[in-house]
Homo-oligomer: 333 residues x 2
């Protein structure tokens, strides 16, 4: 079972075919960065066309059972997610509507302050907002995973605390390995693991030691150290693969409609575009390199299987349905 | 099994409770008259609140099995529908999105010309439009029922012809019983039945012989005559009950945003509001009157059961899922 916790490729039948060649059973795909609800629905319509045109390659997944069915029928399961809460606008009712449409992950903020939480590039991080607490409870209720990949430290720790269900950081690495605003402190990673949450390791060069020159051994050694910190049950892959996207797309990710100036995000004026991928991971056919690299640094076959997909599948089973009867909801507090 | 093929009440827990008292197992409820997609989603959000607040009274139904589950658990199944194609705007991709959100019926036009078909109050009826043919094929594909209750004659006959699946007229009566632009010719009713379609008999006074003064016997005699024309397997109830709505709502239904003038629809300057309901059908507790009336005009118990709900349930089973493999789609012609 191979599951990727985040991709935003320039989708085409060629890439769907590569997923099959790489034996990728499921991918959490980004369907919104800064889009409004209506714009996000237009993106869902594009996916519906692909599901209709390529039913032998891909299918939409809404639960872990769908992922198993995709594997059994030789297809890749596609799971929708938002990198920003913009699709729910200022309307908490859109959480359930988005879940009905298939969204299973939503980041509470993307680099900047949102209505819900603070992004990792803000100077100040006041934590989860009033609406943020309400939305966390609603996401818990319907079965949408809180993703704090692009959020700031305090907001992330509060999301872990306020959420009644485990949360995820779908695509980031430990800051102790490569200091970057997008990578996460040991404090965050420990709290995440203690509550049953998941970290997906990113292959995006700005998150890697040595960036595009990162070696497979360095990456896999980092995974081994993180397994010691978080346990081997709370980690997976979240490649952040943006295959085939023009540089205009990374500019949309960073700038959206929030500024008229240029924001280079993790890039710089000299390197504003997508950085080259590391030599050991170019596209969906390269997951076997990571499996081999993990074995080479000492993981046994069972642990390699957990990291490559089984942990995500278990997390999906626990996270994508309505919340079982439990403690009072946060917004009743 | 009691199923109502159309209602648009001023929903409240009191009305949901009356549904339970009346033993109503399922209702097709209107969630849009002239709303855009985003406004329709806001209406779905209101319903989601009611489903969350009153889970002991109502549940959303997406298929016939859900209706059976509602009956078994003592609740009323709620099935969403649109009286106008306005929720899909000019975007055929919104058919599948709306189906995913639960819409199972859509009228191709409401009194006026739409992007898809002609309404029953237009002077000219050029029939199904180019987009209309595409949308009929898409509704066939995903499992959304074409409803021609407020459409004009030629458009209705063409919808019956172009649709690869049976269609419905959820709420209207034979024009031979009560001449009204909203009631249907024997030509339409015969074509509807020959293709397996369903007619829901309306209790809205403007569709009744004698209007608000219509007698139960007259209504049930009309049902018996229609059963002779269409067969007892192709008819049901579609009460058009608008319980508790203020007159501003009937004005919204008629006028929407398409005119600045007043349009009285089936009313008149002297009687612009909702007319009083006939004495034998005031609300959801009165379905037993109709069952008794049908028995009194000679229907046996099996046929009464068909008309009161079993026909609709069989139709839901055949209509709400993806189209089985069949002839080429209309838009491939």
């Amino acid at each position: 079972m191979i599951i990727d916790g985040l991709q935003y490729a320039n989708w085409s039948d060629a890439i769907f075919q590569q997923m099959r060649e790489g034996g990728v059973d499921a991918v959490h795909v980004t369907i919104a960065y800064h889009e409004t609800f209506r714009e996000t629905v237009a993106n869902i319509e594009r996916w519906n066309r692909w599901f209709e045109r390529y039913p032998h390659l891909i299918m939409q997944a809404r639960c872990g059972a769908d992922v198993r069915r995709a594997k059994q029928t030789g297809r890749t399961a596609i799971i929708f997610g938002f990198q920003n809460p913009s699709p729910i606008e200022d309307d908490i009712g859109l959480v359930e509507v988005s879940h009905t449409l298939g969204a299973r992950f939503m980041q509470l903020s993307y680099n900047n302050q949102s209505l819900l939480a603070t992004g990792c590039y803000e100077a100040e991080d006041p934590g989860i907002t009033r609406m943020g607490r309400q939305v966390i409870a609603e996401m818990n209720r319907v079965g949408m995973v809180i993703d704090m990949s692009h959020s700031a430290e305090r907001s992330t720790l509060e999301a872990i605390e306020y959420s009644a269900r485990p949360i995820a950081i779908t695509h980031a690495n430990p800051a102790s390995w490569h200091p970057a605003l997008r990578n996460k402190s040991d404090t965050v990673l420990t709290a995440l693991a203690e509550t049953g949450g998941m970290l997906g390791f990113s292959l995006y060069p700005h998150h890697l030691e040595g960036k595009s020159g990162c070696t497979l051994e360095s990456f896999c050694t980092m995974v081994a150290r993180t397994a010691e910190l978080m346990s081997v049950d709370n980690i997976g892959i979240g490649s952040d693969l943006c295959q085939g996207q023009p540089d205009s797309v990374v500019e949309w990710m960073r700038v959206g409609r929030w500024t008229k100036a240029v924001d280079y995000g993790e890039g710089s004026p000299n390197a504003p575009g997508f950085p080259p991928m590391p030599h050991f991971f170019h596209d969906n056919r390269d997951f076997a390199n990571i499996s081999s690299g993990l074995a080479a640094v000492g993981f046994d076959a069972q642990d390699v299987a957990k990291i490559m997909g089984e942990n995500w599948l278990r997390f999906f089973d626990l996270s994508f349905g309505p919340m079982p009867e439990g403690p009072p909801r946060a917004y009743d507090d």
